[in-house]
């Protein structure tokens, strides 16, 4: 038995010595062959390689443990001094206030880490930088290759240079007849089709006193109006103009303007709105090379020019 244990010990010592000597052997030199050039083994360190900075995980003291969190903060080498990114930002953009963590926050990121309730790492796992520490340091941009810059896709510029068709809807018009002059004008610029849809159509120009703070306030204004000779009115009880006072609906804008001027001369705050009613709207669907502008439309009152998908 003794000889067996002894031979096991000798065997282990032999393997240990073999491994130790093997590690000490220099790596093979560059392999050169005529006409092939230099071959370098994968993973072999290059003599002229740039030194690579590797973020060093903070020691347990820098990361902090619940027992140490009450102490005075000391700068963490992981987040402050050892941060290549922080150095580069300071060097390149020192005048910028936003290049680093704002002054309103603890100036040393380590302080944040120190006092954060970080759980101790589980046994057997390497100590990692504290919660988010690696992300904040992010040393890779400094040592990595430049990121590829955006360039136009080959097909982008020609596509954009091609004048796209313009597809728009113009309306609503109260009837097909009301759309006629606009349709004729737009036909010189492109193709025009019309369609009818259900919706609100203009029903006149509405003169009203804008909504008051309450119904009582509206009734008080109504009383004042009546005393000044404006008696044909009603207090609006619902809708966006609730607690306003309606003074009349005029088919012609000029008549509405004249009435509004008279009311204003008597000291009342009066507005003109477009009154609508349910009906059939007529819309023109335009397709052409140039986008329609208001100057292309003979009568623009109450008209929308809306983009639409080209068919």
């Amino acid at each position: 038995m003794r000889w067996f244990i002894g031979s096991l010990i000798a065997l282990n010592l032999g393997i240990l010595a073999w491994g130790w000597l093997g590690d000490k052997q220099p790596p093979p030199a560059e392999l050169a062959a005529p006409g092939v050039g230099t071959v370098r083994l994968v993973g072999e360190p290059s003599a002229d390689a740039e030194p690579v900075e590797v973020p060093i995980p903070a020691p347990p003291k820098a990361v902090g443990t619940p027992g140490e969190s009450g102490g005075a903060a000391s700068p963490s080498p992981t987040l402050a001094a050892a941060s290549p990114q922080a150095r580069s930002l300071e060097a390149e953009q020192a005048p910028l206030p936003s290049a680093r963590l704002p002054a309103s926050e603890p100036p040393a990121p380590a302080k944040v880490i120190d006092s954060a309730p970080v759980a101790a790492p589980p046994p057997g796992r390497p100590t990692a930088p504290a919660d988010g520490g690696a992300t904040v340091v992010d040393a890779t941009p400094v040592v990595s290759a430049p990121e590829p810059a955006f360039v136009p896709e080959p097909d982008v510029i020609p596509a954009a240079k091609t004048a796209a068709r313009q597809c728009q809807r113009i309306g609503p018009f109260a009837s097909a007849a009301a759309a006629t002059t606009t349709r004729q004008a737009l036909a010189k610029l492109g193709t025009v089709n019309s369609e009818q849809i259900s919706g609100e159509v203009p029903a006149g120009h509405w003169v009203l006193v804008p909504p008051q703070a309450s119904r009582a306030a509206a009734l008080a204004v109504a009383d004042r109006l009546k005393k000044k000779g404006i008696t044909d009115l009603w207090v609006i009880s619902k809708g966006a103009e609730k607690n306003g006072i309606s003074l009349g609906v005029f088919s012609q804008r000029e008549n509405a303007d004249r009435f509004a001027r008279r009311a204003r001369a008597k000291g009342f705050d009066v507005e003109i709105r477009i009154k609508t009613k349910p009906g059939k709207q007529t819309w023109l669907n335009y397709t052409g090379k140039t986008a329609i502008k208001t100057r292309d439309i003979p009568n623009t009152a109450g008209v929308s020019i809306v983009p639409r998908d080209c068919p």
């Binding site: 930002l89 953009q93 910028l96 936003s98 290049a99 680093r100 963590l101 704002p102 926050e105 990121p109 944040v112 006092s115 954060a116 988010g132 904040v136 941009p141 990121e147 810059a149 955006f150 360039v151 136009p152 896709e153 097909d155 982008v156 510029i157 596509a159 954009a160 240079k161 091609t162 004048a163 796209a164 597809c167 728009q168 919706g199 609100e200 120009h205 804008p210 909504p211 966006a240 103009e241 609730k242 507005e271 709105r273 477009i274 609508t276 986008a291 502008k293 208001t294 100057r295 439309i297 623009t300 009152a301 109450g302 008209v303 929308s304 020019i305 809306v306 983009p307 998908d309 080209c310």
Partner: protein, 241 residues
């Protein structure tokens, strides 16, 4: 006077344009519908516009809710902006130019008018978009990512984590809520900085949108914050409109 309206996914920004002067008003939030009473109140002092120009990212039906009401309020013609293949020096990089979000298109036009050189245009709204123009005004393309609120919503919906609404500029969290706030901020900042690094050399960085403030505050690059960039772009397209 022209009334310019930029309808985003959650806010409506507007400005009056007269004699080349853009005067932005206070933005109005909108959710499922527009608060027409509040809008009516806000625009009471506004003179009758000669034209209304709308750039909307909402669906046509939701946009119509607003435009129908605008038609009732004013007799002015209403023109909805759309992305073009090329306009005022900017060339659209989309294979289908009209499919590019009109807010992104107008933001690029506004940025190009401002810079006239390679530029990275960032809009920090409900979604975060980044678009890149080269030195010739060619749009190289862009990205669309969830904005701060949507990231918080996704994190809350997909886990047992709470929903955070804080948009404070927090680079690192010291509790769950602040870590979530910092996480979404850093995600957006990282996205912007990476794309900016890949943009043509010397590209400037222009930031806009409702959440631009806390995001820009963490950027490690020089930037310009232009809150009404889309409206500026819309104004830039109106020559002779």
């Amino acid at each position: 006077m022209k009334l310019l309206i930029d309808v985003g996914n959650s806010r409506m920004k507007w400005a009056s344009l007269q004699d080349g002067q853009l005067r932005p008003g206070a933005p109005v939030a909108h959710g499922r519908g527009f608060d027409l009473v509040a809008l009516d109140d806000r625009w009471r002092e506004l003179p009758e516009p000669a034209a209304i120009h709308v750039a909307s990212v909402l669906s046509p039906s939701r946009t119509r809710e607003l435009t129908d009401w605008l038609h009732k309020r004013w007799a002015a013609p209403l023109i909805e902006a759309a992305s073009q293949a090329r306009q005022v020096g900017v060339r659209n990089g989309y294979t289908q130019p009209e499919r590019l979000g009109v807010d992104r298109w107008l933001a690029m036009i506004g940025a190009w008018a401002h810079i006239g050189d390679a530029v990275c245009v960032v809009d920090c709204g409900s979604a975060v978009t980044v678009d890149i123009l080269d030195r010739q005004g060619q749009h190289l393309g862009g990205v669309i990512a969830p904005g701060l609120r949507l990231m918080a919503q996704a994190l809350s919906d997909g886990t047992d984590l709470p929903l955070v609404g804080d948009t404070a500029t927090i680079p690192l969290g010291r509790d769950t809520e602040s870590a979530m706030t910092a996480g979404r901020l850093q995600a957006v900042v990282g996205l912007i900085e990476r794309l900016h690094r890949q943009a043509p050399r010397g590209a400037r960085l222009i930031v806009t949108g409702g959440d631009a403030g806390p995001i820009a505050a963490l950027l490690g690059e020089p930037y310009e914050l232009i809150p009404d960039l889309v409206l500026q772009g819309l104004a830039g397209t109106l020559d002779g409109a």
